[in-house]
């Protein structure tokens, strides 16, 4: 039982239309190596386009703002340890500014009952998965009279309520106070605004006397988010940046390749059909440009045009104009001698009609192949420019840029922030070159003959 009538491709797409000449062999030869490569390449390309369009939906984190701890390894929830001292205080202890240093005399009070509130602990807890919270206190015997000791209290609501009382009776030893047991801690309890520590000068030996606290620090331990590809040196999610980078790469690729086609194809058509001195000079110029390293040429022009996605794309265009020109021209030269062109000419067709109706329609068959090959190369070039520091810069999510930023840190064993952006480049370029190579084998009758 067939619910839908069998659809014949032939009915929808005539075999000898321009699109049909590509699509029909694609379906007929799908089981050969070339056909498989083409379909794999097409699949990869479509997947990348989907990713580029849907990057907002797929990406779990923001590509530009730091989302988590720095350098979280991929595929893990890293345990982040933080130990921070305060940067703000209110009260009447003296010499407080030095209290953050562990080896100099810190905050001193000379009267029992004096209160100091320490605030702005830069713990910066990125995720609400706090494992433990604690305090570290060091009281110096040098500067502290017998019987005088500090009392520590913490607040989670900017000093509205104070939890727990800890008396620190030891001196010259870093005292660690574990606060985890008191209450469940959340990320919002530990922000600069809400977390406070109050030290009160307490005494059993009369009001007058010195108390010196050398160091007060808050410690926190929490689990980072789970990152598929880890995070980079600023704490941005590598996976999200790779997703958004697809967009940058595809935009550069499409602009560069289409602009090269728009310039190279008509020039090649005209030059190849007309011939003469115009053709000779153009060939010489194009060959000279083609001979020079494309990456360096594009780099010079990129410096000239300035940074920005469109400018980089246009700089890359320059490399591929000669390629499109050469391919189109050589194709025109062979098509020009074909019998049907001769016939059209004999029937009195105008040169314009011959070029566009008869020659261009045949020449354009080679373009899909060149298109995908030059697109793969354009992506490599754009990434190379970014890597060399001649291409995009700043916050733009770009594979080449991320790779070059990460490459400096592989000596520390941080391999993921350069490995994954490169992997994305590899998959896209492999897809495009499979597409190009497969199409070339399928569409190019000469290559087909050779295969048999």
């Amino acid at each position: 039982m067939r619910l839908l009538p069998r659809v014949h491709l032939e009915d929808w797409l005539p075999r000898h239309s321009i699109v049909g000449r590509i699509v029909h062999p694609l379906f007929e030869e799908r089981r050969t190596l070339a056909g498989r490569m083409t379909w794999i390449g097409l699949g990869l390309l479509v997947a990348f386009i989907v990713v580029a369009v849907g990057a907002n939906v797929i990406a779990p984190f923001d590509p530009i703002l730091p989302a988590d701890e720095k350098n979280v390894p991929p595929w893990t929830e890293a345990v982040v340890n933080r130990n921070e001292t305060f940067t703000g205080w209110t009260g009447n202890w003296t010499l407080l500014s030095a209290a953050q240093s562990i080896n100099r005399v810190g905050a001193t009070s000379n009267l029992a009952g004096q209160v100091e509130v320490l605030r702005s602990f830069a713990l910066d807890v990125k995720r609400d998965a706090v494992l433990s919270v604690g305090l570290e206190v060091l009281v110096l015997s040098n500067g502290t009279d017998a019987g005088h000791y500090p009392v520590l209290e913490v607040s989670r609501d900017a000093g509205m309520t104070w939890l727990a009382r800890f008396e620190v009776r030891t001196t010259d030893r870093l005292e660690r106070i574990d606060l985890s047991a008191f209450a469940p801690w959340h990320a919002w309890d530990l922000t600069r605004e809400s977390f406070r520590v109050r030290i009160t000068h307490a005494s059993e030996a009369g009001a007058a006397g010195n108390l010196t606290v050398d160091f007060v620090g808050a410690t926190a331990q929490w689990k980072s988010f789970w990152h598929l590809m880890g995070t980079d040196a600023i704490g941005r999610d590598v996976f999200s940046r790779a997703l958004y980078g697809t967009r940058t790469s595809l935009i550069i690729m499409i602009i560069a390749v289409s602009a090269a086609f728009a310039v190279g194809f008509p020039l090649g058509l005209y030059s190849g059909y007309r011939g003469g001195n115009f053709d000779k000079i153009l060939v010489l110029v194009m060959d000279s440009l083609y001979a020079f390293p494309g990456l360096l040429f594009a780099g010079l022009i990129a410096v000239l045009l300035g940074k920005g996605v469109v400018n980089i794309a246009l700089a890359i265009t320059v490399i591929y104009v000669p390629l499109y020109f050469r391919v189109t021209r050589s194709q025109v030269l062979s098509t020009r001698e074909e019998l049907f062109v001769e016939a059209a000419r004999a029937l009195g067709a105008k040169p314009r009609r011959i070029v566009f109706r008869y020659i261009a329609a045949n020449v354009i068959m080679v373009i899909p192949v060149i298109f995908s090959i030059s697109a793969a190369d354009a992506i490599l070039t754009a990434a190379g420019l970014s890597y060399l520091g001649l291409g995009l810069s700043g916050d733009v999510p770009d594979w080449g840029l991320d790779l070059s930023a990460g490459a400096e840190r592989i000596d520390n064993g941080i391999w993921w922030s350069s490995f994954f952006p490169g992997l994305a480049i590899v998959f896209l370029t492999i897809g495009l070159s499979f597409l190009g190579e497969g199409l070339n084998d399928i569409l190019n009758p000469l290559a087909k003959k050779e295969r048999l």
Binding site: L284, S288, A383, I410, D411, F419, G422, T429
Partner: protein, 343 residues
Amino acid sequence: MARGRSLLAYAATRGLLAIPMLLILLTAVFFILRVLPGDPVLALWGGREPPPEIVEAARHELGLDKPPWLQYLDYMSRVFRGDLGRSIGEFYRGKPVWGEISSRLPATVELSVGSMLVASSVGIVTGVVSGARRDTRLDVVLRLYGTVIWVIPIFWLGVLFQIVFAIWLGWLPPHGRWQGTDFPHPVTGMYTIDSLLERNPAHFWTALRHLVLPCLTLGLVLSGFFTKTVRANMLRTITADYAEAAHARGVPGRKIVTRHAFRNALVPVVTVLGLQFAILFAGAVITEKTFSIDGIGLLLLESVVSKDMTMIQGIVVVYATIIVGVSLVIDILGAVVDPRIRL
């Protein structure tokens, strides 16, 4: 063209054709650099506003006060006299451009030659095997190797090698050309050759160890091209009439591959080698950056950053001359090997 055209005549016409090519490249670079944003004179002053008379003097000294066409003629004539001028960038200010380039050239040459050796040996072996065993599983694997390795970014492969072989396994040094301060006596500037001239195996070993990863990186990427070209040529020669004739005479298959197909397959490879040099140079710049090898590529990057016009021009002139020269030599070589090219 006449049929009995001599090799000398071919070489001469090919050589004449190289001159306009060089001219076009130099002209293009001259104009690109003239419209480059950022006044080189102001750049010398680090962005501060220098007194106008000093600006005038500096412009006069650099020849920037002359009309553009005169500057162009001046530049061209100096280039053809072999004078590349003096650097105007912040890193090498006042130093002769050619001196800087020639001190950096050996590192680049060492890297390029090494990579070419890797590329051609790997590429020819894979190409010949793939062509000789066509349509087997091995052929498919090698074809995929050729396609895939060719589109792998050089810097990514380099970083991968650094991570695996230098950092995880610790077999090879990740950066640079040399370790320590005990350099070999400079004769050519290429550490491998200098240490061989010194007959110092320890030095040679150090130089070689530093070369392995960069050359492997660049060489493997370039080998993809050889694999594809050699395979295509093998397919053409292995089915050619003379190969079939040999087969008919009872020559064993292995001998047909090595004697008949292989040799003839290499001829077209020589001719496409010329195009490879442009790609090799671009690849060398990236490889030098990845492995911190201070060759011309890094010099070029530094000069682009500091807008050192004369240095950029000098480097481009050197690149263009090498590329045009090499393609000239290779074309002539191709004509020697295969007389049909001369037609």
